[in-house]
Symmetry: D2
Subunit: 336 residues, 4 copies
C-alpha cells in the first residue's frame, strides 16, 4: 500500500485526495497539509480516512512512511516545494505549471535527475477519454501522418482581472493545457509560434495587461501545422474540442454533455450544452492520472507526463506572449 | 424522344411535369389534361413548353404520338383511367394508391397483363436518397438478416376532417407509404398486422371516423417483425425516419433539414428542424421515379414499382383497418 | 450513519456495496451474506471495509444496528427474503423483479404495508441521466401531452438457453425494465398489451420455450400508445434508446459511448459503438438509486420506486407472454 | 425575358447555362461562345435550347438583345473580357477571381463605375444553404458580437502541379473562397494576415513553388480574429465547415453528405462521407447566385457580390503569400 501525502488542501488537492481514496486501491492518503486549515477541510479529511492533517507541509516530507507527494499548493510554490520533496526522496506529482520561471523549472529538472525519483506533471487532459481516443487514432496510424492539429478551448466564464495579473496570463494559465495537447496529440515538438489576441470579453482583463481571446498557430518539428483558438467566455459552457487531420483522414472529438437528450419542437431541434464545469468535465481524467502515477511508482516505470513535459508548454506559452507583444512569429529556440 | 401525357394538372401533376421537363432529357411532356383548367395552369404549361392543354383526357389517350401517360387525377379515378390508358396501349405511371377497392385494382392488374405495357405506381420514397441507402445496406448484407424494421412517419400538420372522410383514412392515405417501405426495406412480404390507434390530435378526425395516431406492428414472411408509428401532426415538422436491425447490425436514417447549422447559446445546442413540406423533402425522389419509369420504357426493362407493389400496401392497409376495428391481429390472407 | 446489510454477494451485490462505500457518505455497509462465499468475495469485503461477512443472511436480519437491507440474492428468493427482512423491521431495497408469481408479490406488498418500512425496487434505469432527461422534459410539458412512447432495448449478447428457462423469459427478465420505462416516461399506466415475437438469434432459445426478438405495443390509460422493440443480440453493443412524442414535440435519447471521437477516412465517417456492458452503461444509475434509497430512509420520504412499481411491470410482462401465446391483445385486467 | 450570353463553354459555363435554363424562369441563354467548340458542346447547347453558338465572344457583345453576359472563360481573360463587356453596356457576372493583378482589377472597377452596369463576382458559397445559415445567425445577433471566425476548407484531391503554376497558388485559387467567407460571415474587413504553410501532400506542388497545407490567421477591423485551415487533399472528401463564435454563443456548419444513413456494426457506427465533388456539393449555390444576379438586373438593385467583393479576397491572398514568403504578419494596407 503506497502512502501518499498531499500538500495543499484547496479544490484540486481535495479532488486528488478523493480520487486516491476511491479509485486507487493500492494507495492511501496518509496526510494532508495546508497553512489555512479550516473545519470543512478537517471534516473532509476525516471522511476520507486521512490519518494526519498538518498546517506545515514539512511534516509530510519528514514522514518516512510517505513515499509520494502531491504538490497542490499555490502556483508560485510549485517549484520550490517540488525541489524540497524530491530532495527528501519523495516521488512527486505536481500540479501544472511547474513554474513560469525557466530557471526555477530548471532547478526542479536537475533535482529530479539527481534524486532519481518519479516526477509527474498534472496535465490531466492526456488522460481524458476523448483526447486519448484522438491520440490513439494518431498513434495507430488511422489518420496517417499528421498535417493539421486543431484545438478549440474556451472557458465558460472569464476569471476576475485580479487572477490574470498573477496567473501569467491566458497563454500560461489556460492555453498551457492546449499547448500540451498539441504536443500530445501530434507526437511532435513545437518549433515556432505566432499569436493573435484581443480583449473582447472583459475590458478589465485588458487593463490588467492580458487578452481574453486568442488564435495561436504553430509549426511543428514533423512539418505539421497547429492552431489553438481560445476564449475566456463561451456563453454555452466549457468548449473543449480537438481534431487531427492527416494524410489518411481526420479524427475529431466534440464536447461531453450531461445527457444525449434531443428535444424537437416548433422552435428547433435542441440538444444539451457541453458540461459547464471543468471538474465535472474532466473528473475521470483526474482519477486516471493518479492511477498512472501510482502504477509508475509501483512498477518503477516511466511516468506518462514527466518534468520535460511540464517545461515544454511553458516555453511555448512564453513564445506566444512574445509573439503577441512583438507582432511576429517567435521560435521556441529564442526562449530557451 | 419519349412523348408523355399528363392526366391531372394538380400539384403532383405539375411536379411530375417539371421533373420530366428539367431532369429527364430523353422525354418531353406533349400534353396535359384537366377538367378544371385555369389560367395559372395554362401559363405553367406554356412555360414548360407543353404543346397541348386539354380539358378531356381522352384526347391524350387518342394521341398516337404519346407513348406514356402519368395518371395524376383524383384518387377515385386512378383505376378507371389506368385501365383506359393501358387498353389504349399507353405505358402508365399511376399515382398511389391505384384504388382502395380490390376488385378495381384487380381490373388494372388484368388489363396491364393483357396489354403488356409498363405500369409503375408512384411510391416515390423508394427513390429517396435516405431510404435507398437503407435498402442498399440491407441488400448488401451489411446488417445481415433483417430482424426488426422500424418506420417513423409523422406529418407536420393534420389534414381537414373532410379529407379523411374520402381518403380511406390514415392507413390508406398516409401509412400506405410506410407499408410500402416495410416491403421495400425488408425485401419480404407482410403476413399479419396488428394496429393500435387513437384520436389525440384533432377530435374532428375522430368524428369523421378515423384516427390520427397509430402504432402498427407486422409479422413478415422472412420471420422479421416490423413496426410503424404514425402521427398526423408533429410540431417540429415532417418526421421521416427508418431503421433496419439485423443479425450483423443496424442501418438507420434520420431527417433531412435545410442546413447543417448548429447554434450553441446559453439556452442549449440547437439544430434545424426537419424539412416541413413533403414536396421539399421528397423532390429528388419525384424526379428519380420518373427517370426510372422512362428508362424502363426505353430499355424495355421491368419498372421498379409495379402494379403488384401497388396492390400489396392496400391489402396491408385494409388489414390494419380491420385489426383496429376488431381489436385483434389480422392476417393478410383474410383480406385477399 | 445508516448501517446497511447486503444479502447476496454476486455481481450486483458487489456493485451496490461499492456504490454505498464510495458514493453514499451517510451510509456504510456493515455486513454482507452469501451462502457461497469465496476468497475473492472476502478480499473484496475487506477492501470495502465491511465488518461482517456471513454465509447465513439471517445474521444480517438479526443485527439490530442494521437498518436497511439490500436483497441481491437469486431471483427466486427475492420475495421470501423481502418478507423476512420487512418483518424484521428493515428497510428493503430489492433487486428486480420482486417475483414472477403474483401471490408472492402480494405477500411482499402486504408485509411492507403492515411494517411501515421503506421498500424500493431496483429499476435503476429511472436514475439514468438519459432517461431522467426524457422524463424531465415530459414532466415539464416541453413535449406536451404524450402521444407515442418508443423504447429500443437490445442486449449485446444472448444469454445461454439455460438462463431463459429459469428467468421467466425475455418479457420478464429483459423487457421488464422497458415496461417500467414506459410507465416512468409516460407517467401513465398500461391498459392493454400486444406482442409479436420470434426466434431469430439463437434456436436454442426457441427450444427452451422463449423468443429472442420482440415488438410489444401497448395502450396506456392516458390514451397514448407505446412500443418496445427487443433483441437479445445487437452486434454493435448494448442499444438503449427512448423517445416520447407528444402534442408539442418529441424528446429522444440515444446511446452513450466511450468517447465522442469521430474518424473520417476514405472508408466513411466512423464513431464509437454504444457502451457494450450494462454495468459500464448504467453505473451512475446504480449509485444514484442507492443514494435516493438512503435519502428516503433518512428523511422519511417516499421511495422513488415502490413495491407497486415492482408489481406493475410483472403484470405487463405476464400479459405480453399471454398475448404472444394466444395471438391476441391482452388487457392487464385479465392478469390481475 | 432577360437574354443572356455565356462566354466560355467549359465546365462552369455549362453549369451556369443549365442553371439559367432550369431555375431562372425569367431569363434565357441566347448565345454561348467558346474558341474551342466541339460536338459535345453543340449538342449540349441544342438540348438547352440556346439559339447561337459562336467561336468568337465578340458576337455576343455585339448582340443588342443580350443584356447580360457571364464571363466563364479562362482566368487570365476574366478582367479584359469583363472590361469589354461592361463597355459594351452589358451587365456582367464574372467567375472568380476577377484577376490576380491589382491594376487589371482596378481597370474593371473603373469600367463598371463608368458604365453604371451590374457587375457580380462568382463567389457562390455566399449562396450556399449552410453558409447562409451561419451568416443569418450572425446578422440576427444570435451569437452576439463575432469574436472568432473559423473556416475549414480542404479539397478531396490535389490538383496537378501544372495547375498551381498558373493558378496563382493555393491562396489565390483555393483559399480565396475562404477569404471571401471570412468577410461574408463576419461582416467585417481583414486588416492583417499571417500564414503558415507547408508541402505535406505532394512534393511536386512544392517544386512548382506552392504549398498544399496552410493555416492562415487574420485580424479583422471589428476586432475579431479569424482562422482558415486548408489542405489540398482530404482522404474522406471535400471538407467545408465554418464556425462563428461570439459574445452570445456560436454557430457552426458541418458537411453535407449523400444520405443520413448510419450503419452500426461490430466495427463501429459509420455515417456517410462528405460529398466529394464541388459541383455536387455547391450545385444549389450556383443556381442561386444566378437567380440573384438576374433579379438585381430586373429590379435594378445592388448585386449581392460586387466588384469590390471580388477585389478584397485577392488583396488578402496576396498578403498571405507575402506573409508566407517573409515569415511575418502582413497588413492589407501594405498590398494596396
Amino acid at each position: 500500500m503506497l502512502k501518499v501525502g498531499i500538500i495543499g488542501a484547496g479544490r484540486i488537492g481535495k479532488v486528488h485526495g478523493e480520487s486516491i481514496t476511491k479509485y486507487v486501491p493500492s494507495a492511501v492518503v496518509k496526510a494532508i497539509a495546508d497553512p489555512f486549515l479550516n473545519d470543512q477541510t478537517r471534516a473532509w479529511a476525516k471522511e476520507m480516512g486521512i490519518e494526519n492533517v498538518y498546517e506545515d507541509y514539512h511534516k509530510i516530507l519528514e514522514d518516512d512512511e510517505i513515499e509520494a507527494v502531491l504538490v497542490c499548493s499555490s502556483t508560485d510554490t510549485h517549484s520550490s516545494i517540488s525541489v524540497e520533496a524530491v530532495e527528501a526522496g519523495k516521488h512527486v506529482f505536481c500540479e501544472k505549471p511547474i513554474d513560469h520561471d525557466l530557471d526555477r523549472i530548471d532547478a526542479v529538472l536537475k533535482a529530479v535527475e539527481k534524486a532519481g525519483v518519479k516526477y509527474q506533471v498534472g496535465f490531466n487532459r492526456r488522460f481524458d477519454h476523448n483526447f486519448r481516443a484522438v491520440r490513439q487514432a494518431v498513434k495507430d496510424g488511422v489518420v496517417g501522418e499528421p498535417h493539421i492539429i486543431k484545438i478549440t478551448s474556451r472557458d465558460p466564464e472569464a476569471p476576475p482581472a485580479e487572477y490574470v495579473k498573477v496567473s501569467g496570463g491566458l497563454f500560461l494559465d489556460m492555453t498551457i493545457h492546449d499547448f500540451d495537447m498539441v504536443r500530445y496529440l501530434s507526437g511532435s515538438e513545437v518549433v515556432e509560434v505566432h499569436a493573435y489576441g484581443n480583449v473582447l470579453v472583459d475590458p478589465a482583463i485588458g487593463e490588467a495587461g492580458d487578452i481574453d481571446t486568442a488564435i495561436v498557430t504553430m509549426k511543428l518539428e514533423n512539418g505539421a501545422l497547429a492552431v489553438i483558438d481560445n476564449s475566456r467566455e463561451a456563453a454555452y459552457g466549457y468548449d473543449q474540442r480537438a481534431e487531427v487531420f492527416g494524410s489518411k483522414g481526420a479524427v475529431a472529438v466534440s464536447n461531453d454533455s450531461s445527457s444525449t437528450a434531443v428535444i424537437s419542437t416548433k422552435d428547433g431541434v435542441k440538444g444539451e450544452k457541453p458540461l459547464y464545469f471543468f471538474l465535472e468535465r474532466y473528473m475521470q481524467s483526474f482519477a486516471d492520472e493518479l492511477k498512472c502515477f501510482v502504477e509508475a511508482i509501483e512498477n518503477d516505470t516511466q511516468v506518462p507526463v514527466n518534468a520535460n513535459d511540464g517545461l515544454a508548454p511553458v516555453l511555448i506559452g512564453l513564445a506566444a506572449k512574445k509573439s503577441l507583444l512583438e507582432g511576429r512569429p517567435v521560435k521556441i529556440s529564442e526562449i530557451k
